[in-house]
């Protein structure tokens, strides 16, 4: 069995599973946010729900339109808060404690290898970086979990993505996942698990793996997963006392397809409007002028991302004709960036530092694009109208490319700026 099949079989209590089987399982954790939880709560109550089945497994994380952007969002926020107050055990996080959900849960040790996690948020697939099976579902799925502790899944076939070769200086997990999406397309792993492996993956940090697993959905994937190793064990030290289940694929596992990418000689890439599969080397499109840069999100808002951005911005200023927004994804990352002196660098460079929020990534608030504006963003989607006006444009890139582009005022390969 592949790693995904193994995790699901263990959870389902069966010896083996094959792709396309339908299973009903009891997930270890279910999350929802200030956009999706209001529907979950309505459906739970409409179905006559009185008590939450496993409240300690339920996380309601208000991160999308927070700090509340308008009255309607504030009402949704209060709905989550009231629900958590009524159902003891359900976790809700106040401002000051809350961060972008997919950065927050791993950071607090809530995710461990071998877990099965469902979330009413498509980027729930992030936790595959820790060797968990995690997948995005809908609000009603989470309502079903609140009522019965159960969810339904179809066992996905697995695509193996192998990365070999030598990484260039400014290459990152973001470049690897964009290269894969560029190669297989936005439906290339539709309904499928992606199992990442190879020497480049072994050398990649856990945070870099989170960036990659996060965007499995952008290839249509059900989940993205990495074999948990000593780096994962190291990451979890001090975050949780629970051991976790370090599973690995069998030697005779059956993969539907294997995609191999040799990264030797490759340079940082950008996904051009309006699909994440429109991937080009940054150095090939360096004449594109930009109006905004966003560095943050569940994809690239972690401390390593902040450090890379600061390394490039140190001693430089962002182009006076653009705005550069930096969003540390959680309060802990925010404090760490502050303690490490990164905020000094950002402020000296004339970047703006935002509180933790998903805000601009989905065109919520804190950095909306006007008609005709272009943005280089470390987020995950560049669909029409995603960050604002339908005639605005988003170029997805790594924190290094984003920071270098902020200084240059146009899309830039970091090596051009740093030579």
């Amino acid at each position: 069995m592949t790693l995904t099949e193994k995790i699901l079989a263990k959870k389902a209590g069966v010896k083996s599973l094959t792709p396309q089987e339908f299973i009903e399982i009891e997930p270890d954790l279910a999350l929802s946010n200030d956009i999706t939880a209001p529907i979950t709560i309505d459906e739970f109550e409409k179905a006559g729900g009185k008590n939450v089945r496993c409240p300690e497994r339920v996380f309601m994380i208000p991160d999308h339109f927070t700090p509340n952007k308008d009255i309607l969002s504030a009402e949704h926020y209060r709905k989550l808060k009231d629900f958590a107050a009524k159902h003891a055990g359900v976790r809700f996080f106040e401002q000051g404690e809350v961060g972008v959900e997919h950065a927050l849960l791993p950071e607090m040790g809530a995710i461990r290898p071998g877990m099965v996690v469902i979330g009413a948020d498509s980027h729930t697939c992030t936790y595959g970086a820790l060797g968990a099976f995690s997948t995005g579902v809908g609000s009603t799925d989470v309502a079903g979990f609140l009522l019965t502790g159960k969810a339904w899944l179809k066992v996905p076939p697995t695509v193996k993505a192998v990365f070999t070769g030598v990484m260039g200086e400014w290459m990152s997990g973001k470049d690897l996942i964009l290269l894969l999406i560029g190669k297989i397309g936005v439906s290339g792993a539709q309904y499928r698990a992606i199992e990442f492996s190879g020497p480049v993956i072994d050398a990649l940090s856990v945070e870099g793996r989170m960036t990659m697993a996060n965007m499995a959905i952008e290839a249509g994937g059900k989940n993205g997963v990495f074999v948990p190793d000593t780096k994962v064990a190291e990451y979890l030290k001090g975050r949780t006392k629970e051991k976790g289940d370090y599973l690995a694929p069998d030697a005779d596992a059956v993969y539907e397809r294997t995609v191999t990418i040799d990264v030797t000689g490759l340079t940082p890439v950008v996904a051009c409007p309006h699909l994440p599969e429109n991937v080009k080397p940054a150095r090939d499109i360096m004449n594109v002028r930009i109006d905004q840069v966003v560095i943050g999100s569940c994809t690239n808002g972690r401390i390593e991302d902040m450090r890379v951005a600061a390394k490039i911005l140190k001693g430089r200023k962002v182009d006076p004709n653009l705005r550069c927004l930096v969003l540390p994804a959680t309060p802990k990352i925010y404090r760490q960036a502050l303690d490490e002196g990164l905020f000094q660098v950002f402020l000296d460079a004339h970047a703006v530092i935002s509180p933790p929020t998903c805000g601009p990534c989905l065109g919520g608030h804190m950095g909306i694009l006007a008609h005709g504006e272009r943005c280089v963003s470390t987020t995950n989607r560049n669909f029409v109208g995603r960050m604002g006006h339908r005639e605005s444009e988003i170029y997805l890139a790594s924190p290094a490319v984003a920071a270098a582009s902020a200084v240059a005022g146009r899309i830039t390969d970091p090596s051009e700026l740093m030579k």
Partner: protein, 162 residues
């Protein structure tokens, strides 16, 4: 279940940000979600499409976010069912869970044109468009049971003792 309606065609990779932009996700009001359906790629669609219309699209319909507001927006805009070559998986389960009929059919997608009248009969597994009859593959038995019970929660409540 049988649906007859006017066809509106869309291409590949219609994503959930296009189906209902996130700026309207601060509400679950059916009127608002219906009105702004497809606003950024086809302005006015949410109020123009007559009740019972059918969307016929290409590959990977509903890709992107997990927002259940997307199938709800289509439902509230009066769309009776969606036919596509393929659906993104979260959209697929959301549609099944909330009871928006969806049909995977490359044949219908290649033959139906904007403004055609399309009939889809899920009971007989047949569709008719432009005088031509097309066979529709049935859902797997597990999905059929959910659809027959009216969605995931009714199914779950019926089959789970609690």
């Amino acid at each position: 279940m049988k649906y007859t309606g006017t066809v509106y065609t869309f291409g590949d990779n219609v994503n959930t940000d296009e189906i209902i932009p996130a700026r309207y996700l601060n509400t679950t009001d059916p009127t608002v979600l219906g009105r702004y359906c497809m606003e950024d790629i086809r302005p006015g669609f949410g109020t123009r499409a007559e009740k019972g219309s059918i969307i016929v699209a290409g590959d990977n319909f509903g890709c992107g976010s997990s927002r259940e507001h997307a199938p709800l927006s289509l439902k509230y805009a009066g769309i009776a069912c969606v036919v596509a070559v393929s659906f993104a998986r979260i959209f697929f389960r959301n549609a099944i869970n909330i009871g928006l009929p969806i049909i995977e059919s490359r044949d219908i997608s290649s033959k139906a044109k904007e403004g055609d009248t399309l009939t889809v009969d899920l009971d007989t597994g047949r569709a008719v468009v432009g005088g031509e009859e097309i066979a529709i593959a049935p859902f797997p038995p597990f999905m059929q049971k959910i659809v027959e019970e009216g969605g995931w929660l009714p199914y779950l409540l019926k089959t789970t003792a609690h």
